[in-house]
Subunit: 429 residues, 2 copies
């Protein structure tokens, strides 16, 4: 065994970074045995040097992250600062100066993954980022290595713990969105500004990364259709229950039926209670994968938090260090299929639509005609009404999102339709 | 990209082997792109050459497996014949003649994993075996790579689809063991001789492999405590339901509380309905992993079958081929902790015990005294009786298996105890 240690630079020392540093110390012997050489924390770049960091030698702490990654003796840079800049420049600088990189930065990977992979390859370095999607759950390695001999057709996941906590709370207690969000905030599951979670920016970044890996093509954040979950109501949950469903915020990455394109989207959807994803509770994450040969797989675990994310970072750190010792690099970007990403209008799924309509004869016939004219086939209709007001709940067969959008627009133009109170996609069947 | 193909020899062409060959043909372009070079089926060793094999060039078929692995131009040997010999000799011969090996052979890995790993390392070859445990579910790679920076404390899994099908059937229909087994046989889930499944030899081999990888130590099949599920009755399921539990055949690999030893065991056990493993239905497999940093993870999917197992084999094939092209080898055996495997008596868990007793005053006091004398603390007792006969159901707190065994032996010696009708461990809390 080599005795000269591999040197690790840590960029960021917040919730995840401090856990990475702690485990590197407490599990040093295990890491040495598994890597085949000791690893040493050679520097920690932070914004506020005055903050006391338990267990970290103050002499290692610096505010000059650029100088740290340029030192030239760093073997691996662990980037856990997040955001686009300065993370992007620091990572490419690290590649130029001899280091491989382990990152947990979903936003950056979703936006600039291709350029970062190209930079890593140009310099013969590794870029690993298991922690960027679904925290501790081993997902990127299984998708790109374990399933490398298979053909993945669909990835459907709960990849944001905050929104799953809120939706689970609404489902189990009948609470409204705001009440459930307030509880999530009080318990520390939601941030003071929950936008990135509830508007699904976070989940969309993860969907882009997952789709790219699953289909061996490039999918950027901008390619992902995104719809948040702030409009989901207690009434939607009541409707879902009536159908034997619950509501989850899903990231869906699909290969088109003809195999010639892919789609990636994030939105709330109804899924049957019998689906394995329906029973994912609280802040847990789970990703359901369907492939030609393996069939249906699911990966489940904590999607966030300092320790779980650190576990994923350290798994990557061990792999990257082993590669470095062996003079090899792990699998890089695989985008050979170059499949185009189709727009949301091309997505085919089922829909649950609630309409407020006038309670008079002929309304159902009018509504049904609009569906038929747009080529959207109706599975079931439930009609209920009193005092001149009525509601129609329509569940469709599979149709394209464009056809459904056309249908809804036409419905809104009918005199007898007072409003479209909710439209929700139905998945997992 | 290199154009000279990597040559693959397939040993065995049954349900799994023929699927491997089929996917190698139908997905040839994808495999080429992912590996960085074409792969070519260079030979197929079978026992019965006369059997027609769709899609396989008859010129590749041979009955001389030894000559095939000795050819010297084979890059990877895929061993899907199973059993100890001739598989063992063929694998070591393959290593000697330049090939790396992908195997799905749980029995061989559980019995001789250490020797096979040593042979691979001696010759600088890879030995991969994702398909040996839980079929298509990526499990070995996540455990030995994704969690390489973490400390795994427990692995608890449903790793045999046949027995899960039978137990699920008993649970959902109230059927007895024999009736459920007959249905499993009729549907092709159970073999004509179901011994390897129902007596848990299959699950025990998988437990040995999982424990070795999880704890970085050597665990052989002989180290695994094994109890089949043929004695589980409809009455046991009724008792389980009364406790809010179901019954599963579990493989349990645990690190002792003091960290100084490990245990591995396979037996039926009650688990709460709220546990993620409780909802694993039919012939599916799932493995629940608890680690220091990641927390609780679960991996779920089809545990057997030609296509799922082939998916795992091909994922390994891609990895081994990539290693070969890069002049590297993947992670080998990691057994540095050298933790001893403790006997079953040291395992600490909870127990559900049903006793037939005389219906007279003082019996409960007598029974409670026996538990106390053996240091087994009682959680709950339920007493019911009529016509001079009574039954006692005792659920204990955590106690060692040795203490429980001593308790049961002493109970059997009491005049007032007519029989111990069932003893079942309670897990997952």
């Amino acid at each position: 065994m080599r005795t000269r240690p591999l040197k690790v630079a840590l960029l960021g020392c917040g919730v995840v970074g401090s856990e990475v540093a702690r485990i590197m110390t407490t599990h040093a012997d295990d890491l040495t045995a598994r890597i085949g050489a000791p690893v040493e924390l050679a520097g920690v770049a932070v914004r506020r040097p005055s903050k006391v960091r338990a267990g970290i030698d103050p002499a290692l702490v610096t505010t000059d992250a650029t100088a740290l990654v340029k030192r030239g003796d760093i073997d691996v840079v662990v980037e856990v600062i997040g955001g686009i800049e300065p993370a992007r420049t620091l990572i490419t600088t690290a590649f130029e100066h001899g280091a491989s990189v382990v990152s947990a930065n979903k936003a950056l990977l979703a936006q600039d993954g291709a350029a970062l992979h190209a930079a890593a390859e140009e310099h013969g370095r590794d870029l690993y980022y298991e922690a960027a999607v679904a925290g501790a759950i081993p997902l990127i390695r299984p998708l790109r290595e374990s399933l490398a001999g298979d053909k993945i057709n669909r990835v459907m996941g709960i990849v944001n713990g905050t929104t799953n906590f809120i939706l689970d709370k609404m489902d189990s207690t009948g609470a409204g969105y705001q009440e459930a969000l307030d509880e999530a905030t009080a318990l520390g599951y939601a941030e003071a500004d929950p936008t990135a979670d509830v508007e699904a920016f976070d989940a969309a970044a993860k969907a882009a990364i997952l789709a790219g890996i699953a289909f061996h093509t490039r999918v950027r954040l901008d390619d992902v259709y995104r719809e948040g979950m702030t409009e989901v109501t207690a009434a939607d949950f009541a409707s879902a229950k009536g159908m034997g469903c619950t509501i989850k915020l899903l990231a869906l990455c699909e290969r088109a039926a003809d195999g010639g394109s892919v789609t990636a989207r994030v939105h709330p959807a109804m899924i049957p209670l019998t689906h394995p994803l329906a029973s994912v509770r609280g802040a847990y994450n789970a990703v359901f994968v369907e492939s030609d040969a393996a069939g249906q797989l699911m990966f489940y675990g904590p999607g966030a938090g300092g320790s779980p994310t650190a576990s994923a970072v350290l798994g990557d750190l061990v792999a990257v260090c082993r590669n470095k010792l062996g003079g090899a690099t792990g699998p890089g970007e695989s985008a050979y299929t170059q499949l185009p990403v189709s727009p949301m209008g091309d997505v085919v799924t089922r829909y649950h639509i609630s309409l407020d309509v006038a309670d008079k004869p002929g309304v159902l016939a009018q509504v049904a005609t609009v569906f038929a004219e747009h080529g959207v086939s109706i599975d079931t209709v439930r009609q209920s009404g009193k005092d001149g007001e009525a509601s129609l709940v329509v569940v469709t067969h599979r149709a394209s999102d464009a056809s459904l959008a056309g249908t809804v627009e036409a419905l809104r133009g009918l005199d007898t339709v007072r409003g479209v109170s909710s439209i929700m996609r139905v998945e997992g069947e």
